[in-house]
Structure formats: C-alpha cells, structure tokens
Symmetry: C2
Subunit: 463 residues, 2 copies
C-alpha cells in the first residue's frame, strides 16, 4: 500500500492540472447547445482512462454517452480462467449544472482557478473532482504495479443533472458486465474537510413545471386590466396555498408514509458539526426557515419539500412594461424521503394543483424527472469497511449522515444490479454545488484519493 500512497503524494500537482483539463469542458447536460461539449468531455475521459491503464470505451445512448473504464481482468491477462475476485463499481458523472447566472461568477465557470486550497470551476465538486479522485487512486495502483484485490469498473455518465434518463436502460443492457458486490459513489458531501462521512440515506425527487395560461397574448394593463385574470397573480395564489407559514406543505397526503426519525438517527444527526448559526452564516439568508418541529439539519436531510426553482412571467427587462401577462410559469421540484413513492407524490401534487387552479386560467403541467429516496443499513459489512477506510484516509472518526440531495440512479443500482451503494462524499458545505463560484477543496481531493486507495482492500478483504 505504501507505494500507492507515495505515488499519490508525489503526483498531486499533475493531478490538479489534469482535473483542470477535465473542468474546462462546458458539459452542461440541460442545455442542448452543449451536446458536442459533452461528447468531447467523454472522449477526453476515455483517452485519460486508457493512459492510466484502464480498458475504456465510450458507449452511445439515446442522450449523452456513457464512459466505461475497467481494470484488466485476471482472466484476460493470463489467458486462464481467473479465480473469482470481488467486483466493485465506481459511479460518477461528467455532466454539470448550468452555470447561470454568469454575472455572479468571480471568474468564468469553465476556466478553472486555484485560490489557496480551493479549485473553482463549474463541476469541480459536482462531480468531476470527486470521480477524478477515484481514477487517480486506481492510477496509483496500476502505475506502481500494486495488485488490486478486486476488479473495478468505472461508470461515468453524462446525464445525472437531467435525471439519468438513459442510464437505466444501459444498466439493464449491461447487467452481466456490471454485476458487482457494491457500488461506490462520491457525489455527496462531508461536513468539513477534517470530518469525513458515510451517507446512509438520500432524498428522492420529482420535477415538474406548471404554466397558467390567461389571455391569448400580453394585454395593455390600462385598457384591459381589472376585467381579466392576471396569470401571475393566479400563480401566486396557487403556490401560496401549497405551504403554510410554518413551512408545512398543505397538499393532503403529501406526508403519507414519511417515517419519523429514530432516536439513533437523531443522535447521529446531532454529531453533524454545523450549528444552525453556522448554517445561517453559510447561506447568507436573513434567517433560517423550515418545517416547525425539526432542526435545520433534520429539515434538509430527512423531510420532504416543495421547492420553486424558477418563476417566469411577463416582462423581465429593464424599466417597466404595463401589461397583463399572457401566462406565468413555475419550475418545481419536490424532495422526497424514504417510503415516499415518486409516482404517487407526483399524482397527488398534480391533482391537487389542478383542483386548486382557478377557472380564470388554464393549467398546463409538464412532468420532469423523478427518483425515489434511498437508504442503506450503516451496519452492513460494506458500510463498516467504508468507515474504516475513511478513518485511515482522513485520520479521524467519520460521521454517519443522511443527505438531502438526490442521486436518482442509486435505487436503480439496487433494483437492476442487486447491490448496495456506499456514498462517500467529498464535497464541503461551502462548495457552492449548483451555485455560482462552485469549488472543490484540494485537501478533499487528495484525501479522497487516499480513501479510494484504502477502500479496495477493506472492501475486498473484510475483517
């Protein structure tokens, strides 16, 4: 193991430069104009994986391509029937969130910049930096000739930020090739650079968009205003009904099946080293706000939400335009928790919205992606192995936590491949994932490589 660790230590500067190359691709999966940038990024990944000694290929899908990179299998190398080795899969994604609003970035989102121990760029923490840490660890094994105690397969997709819509089909098509003992994903967070974490639960999600249509065109608000519904006002009325001023969603059935947190879970959550005051400062909000009866950490990890992601109506340019807008739109996502079924929640939410839509406007709902929440036992052998690797890599006792984000594909892994996923996030709370000035901490990058190096023996040869 020591040569692996030494190799990692020696090559940090090059690794950071390579990560910079990876981050320069504007691989924004939500924006059609970036299609060719996603392809170029995937091709760069294939080439890079081959350079470090993996067998890599680009797999076309109906959307953006998937990169598969594998350690050379024993059987293939020796021409003999190999002894069965454990097989682990590392999942990550090379697509990134849209960088808008661009004017809030200190430097351009696709021109990586280092300041202190932070590397700034869109996709640095979510998820390029995190998956690249795993690639660098396997490079250290391969380049130092240190035998890996397991077979590894990297699956790096390009549609995570738009709901992984083609990965499911791909998994089913490659079920045999990808059959494995566990999946490792670093696409979540850790509370602080010196506080590693194993995430044992994730929230699910449903996305949709509602548009309220009023007059056939924008109207002069002087000539017609007062005698016709304003769709923006109708939208305000509808959305305001969704949540009360105690942060509770008012849609009947929304909380059906949501399990209360156990005493053990509440205790684990209490160990999370970010106070409400610290969170408030981090967010820069006038004050924290959430469902009454829960701590902020509980609210954002263990409770479902109804979130407006965007509003659009009428005139948004400079100055004023005196119109009654023809339509008003809200982009919505609900975060779900274990036991909430996305299809069911979508149905009750959309039915409720339709029922509560005033007759003065016509409602159009378009459905986006959806994913179930995820939960795995933190006492399983794999989880325990991961906790040991975390402690060795970071030199400190890791925390167990739930996280509020969604990794839609994790449930799919369980369903299609029958394997649990270990969520070993390397992102920090102030990394600005999905926000302007996204960054990745270079200590997390380096310790993440060490984590990956320690992980394979721990997983392959459990105590």
């Amino acid at each position: 193991m020591q040569p692996v660790l030494d190799y990692l230590k020696q090559h940090q500067a090059r690794f950071v430069a390579e990560l910079g190359d990876y981050l320069r691709f504007p691989s924004v999966s939500a924006q059609p104009q970036h299609k060719k940038d996603l392809l170029a990024c995937a091709q760069w990944l294939v080439k890079h994986c081959r350079q470090i000694g993996l067998e890599a290929r680009l797999c076309e899908t109906a959307g953006h391509p998937i990169v598969i990179a594998k350690t050379k299998r024993a059987a293939a190398r020796k021409g003999l029937r190999a002894l069965p080795k454990p097989h682990f899969m590392v999942y990550g994604h090379y697509d990134v969130q849209p960088p808008e609003p661009l004017e809030l970035w200190t430097t351009p989102p696709f021109e990586p910049r280092i300041a202190g121990r932070n590397l700034f760029a869109r996709g640095s923490t979510d998820n390029k930096g995190q998956n690249f840490a795993h690639l660098k660890a396997v490079e250290a094994y391969l380049k130092t000739g240190t035998p890996l105690p397991c077979d590894l397969t990297f699956v790096l997709e390009g549609e995570e930020e738009v709901g992984s819509k083609n990965l499911s089909t791909f998994l089913k098509q490659h079920r045999t090739e990808l059959a494995c003992d566990a999946i490792v994903v670093s696409d979540t967070g850790m509370p602080a650079a010196d506080c590693p974490a194993l995430t044992y639960a994730l929230r699910g999600i449903i996305a949709f968009e509602i548009t309220l249509h009023g007059p056939a065109r924008d109207l002069h608000s002087g000539i017609f205003g007062g005698a016709v519904e304003n769709p923006a006002m109708a939208l305000a009325h509808l959305l305001a009904k969704v949540r009360d001023d105690k942060g509770r969603i008012q849609i009947p059935g929304f909380y059906d099946g949501v399990a209360a947190l156990s005493k053990y879970e509440r205790e684990q959550i209490k160990r999370y080293p970010l106070s409400d005051a610290g969170l408030k400062k981090l967010l820069g909000s006038p004050q924290l706000f959430g469902e009454t009866g829960f701590t902020a950490t509980e609210q954002r990890s263990s409770r479902p939400t109804f979130e407006i992601n965007g509003l659009t109506s009428g005139y948004q340019g400079e100055g004023s335009k005196t119109i009654v807008p023809s339509w008003a739109r809200a982009k919505i996502t609900c975060r779900l928790v274990p036991n909430q079924k996305p299809a069911h929640v979508r149905k009750i939410v959309c039915s409720w919205l339709k029922k509560n839509c005033p007759p003065t406007v016509r409602m159009e709902i378009s459905a986006g992606h959806g994913a179930e929440a995820y939960m795995v036992s933190p006492t399983s052998a794999a989880a325990q192995a991961a906790l040991r690797a975390l402690e060795r890599a970071f030199g400190t006792k890791p925390v167990l936590m739930r996280e509020g984000g969604s990794i839609p594909i994790v449930n799919e892994f369980k369903q299609v491949l029958g394997a649990d996923t270990l969520l070993l996030g390397l992102g920090l709370p102030d990394d600005n994932a999905h926000s302007p000035n996204e960054k990745f901490n270079l200590d997390c990058f380096e310790n993440g490589q060490r984590l990956s190096a320690f992980l394979w023996p721990e997983l392959a040869e459990p105590v």
Copy 2:
C-alpha cells in the same frame, strides 16, 4: 374645407407609405440600446414636419429629445402684430413599448406590413399612427393654402412609455411658448371603427418593483432545501395576500376616495358597444375576471387595480435546475382612478408590502413612474366642439367614455399650461397596443385625419 378633404383623400397611399417609414424606427424608450434609434426617429420627424410646411426643431432633454413643430405664426409672416388667434397644442409620442416577446410576432415588429385595412408594426396604434394623422391634416391645410383658424403646436415626445420623465421640466421651461386654449391627444381608443369616441377620463398609475432577497446565492435544493426560505415562495405568499378571490385589493386604504360612478356615467358606459362575451372573445382568456359588483367595462375603466407585469426568479432556461433561488422579483403597476393620489397610494401599498414581508427574506422596493388619473367635463365648449368634429369626420354619433389607460402628462398640461385636454383616440380594442402584432386600422387613420381637419374650425369658432 373641401380642398383639405379632397387632398386627404388623394394622398392616402403616400401617407401610409410615410407612416411605414416612421414605424421602421425601433424607438423603444425603455431599452437603453435603442437610444440612437429614438434620436434618428426624432430627426426624421423634424425633417418631415418641415417638408409639410411646419417650423420644426429638435429639443434636447436629459433623456430622449422632444420634437416641436408649429404652424407659421401670423405675426412672423407679415412683420406686423398679429391679431390674437386661438392656439391649440397636439401632443403625441414617437417612442414605443418593447416588442418582446418577439417570437409571438407574425412578422418582425419594425417591418411594417399591411393586411387588408390593417397596418401591423410596433407603435402603429400607440402612438405613431395616431399622431401622424394629425400631421397629415395640417399638411392638407398648408399644401392647399386653406387658412387655419388657429395656431397649432405639435409636441411629440420620446418618453411616454417610460413615464414622460423629462416632459414636465420641458413644459415649465416653455410655458409661454406652449400656452394654449386646449390640448388635443389621440392616444386612447374608440370602441369600433364606426364608433368614434371622446374619452373624458383616464386612469392614473404607479409603477414599482419588489425584490425579495433570501440566501446570498442560488442554493442546491437537495443539500439546503427545507431549512431555508425560498424567496419565490415568499413572493407568492406576499402577492397572494394582495388580492382576494373576488378581485378585491386587500391593502387597507387602497380604495380611499374612489368615487362611485354616477347614474349618468353608468348609462354612458352602457352605450359602449362591446359586450362581456365580445370582450372575452377578444382577450382569449378562459373567462373574464374582476372585482365583484362591477361590469367588465366599469372594471377596466373606472376601478383601480394591482397588476403583476412580470415575475423573475431562479432558473428559467430549458430543463430543470434544482436550486433554491437567491431572490425573486415582481414588476408591479397599479392603475388609479380620479381622487386617488399616486404618492399616497404608493406609500400605503409599499408600507403594507413591507409590513407583510416575512422576516425570512429582505425586501427591496424600487419606485418607477407615477401619474394621477384625469377627468374633464364632457359638457365644456371644447368637448362639445370635439363631439361635433367626430360626428362630421365619421358620419355617426360619437360615444362618451372613460378609458383605463394612463397618459401621465395630461394632468401636467392642466397644471402647467392651465388647459384641458381632449382625448380623441383612434385605436381599436383589437389593435394589440403593448402586445405582439400591434396594428393600426387604416380607416381609423383616414378618418382621424378628417377629424383633425374638422376639429380646428370647430374649436376655433365654437357655435
């Protein structure tokens, strides 16, 4: 008079072509990038006014320039002290509303297109076509050598759509030059091409923008959602409180001083030849909606409103972006009726909004333009003269009406120049003022010229 009418009849084709030239200037006063287009349009107007025999000049202001064009005064022509002649002012504006959303225009907004008896272009009805009709009438007088029974001054400004912010100073500076017996403005509507109208009241306006600030930046809705206020949701809550589901504004004091319509006024309004069913069809809205207890025509002419002109928050591009937006904004205008003071209404509305803003967000309010409502007696000599001219020009009895739009400067005329304004609108309800596919009816254009021709003798030599 007959030579004037004959001249108008003979030159319609050229007049329409000239109006097309006028409409080709994208003179959008709200958008700074069009500053040079406004100047070019004003210069074109000066040149055109000189060609038809007026003394014209361009007057710089702190904003867009004002065009002044006058008939040659008797005194100046003869070198003698002139007998006092009545003096009337014609006011219009050469600036236009923003053309967005462009994709809803059948043909480009600044490429005039004729279909049947309609001329399509931004600014065609509001207000270039209407003020051009008056210019063509005076051209007919001057080119046929028909003596005008009055002096005329045209004031054509470039900031009507942004609140006429420099016209007030200009009026005060030119108080003596512009002193007149009455002002004529064609910038309102008539119910139908065969139903001319004198508008005796206009609504006032206040414009403002509210922005609710939440977190310091857009946040990942998975990592943080649930523990922090969503500014878009806070905005929905705040706006929904403003109006109840009976269309009544809930801000205490909002209706203070609003006079009930008299029996005479209600009867005049009933003569307005557009039924609720006709209005619904015109607007293309699922149904009409307004304050309970008033007809649609009353609601849009005689009642105050609180209108959302635009909403902006978070991500508005294609696909979804899972964020808690950092801020949410609403552009608002309130239409006011006689006896409501803009400054007072602005104060109570803004105070109420601040008081009702939840502590989870920080509110920023920026004030836009404002103007008082206007009302003039329909039994005055000038109004009676205008009614006679309307009947002669259109060959049918005109209606008396209130209109819901605002012409902020009309009160200023009364205050600074001490003169009443005659509102002789040539726009039709389906002209799409402020909307995509704005048009001007060419019959209204031609009859508008005749109206202007008949008007000066009627006004100068009242019965």
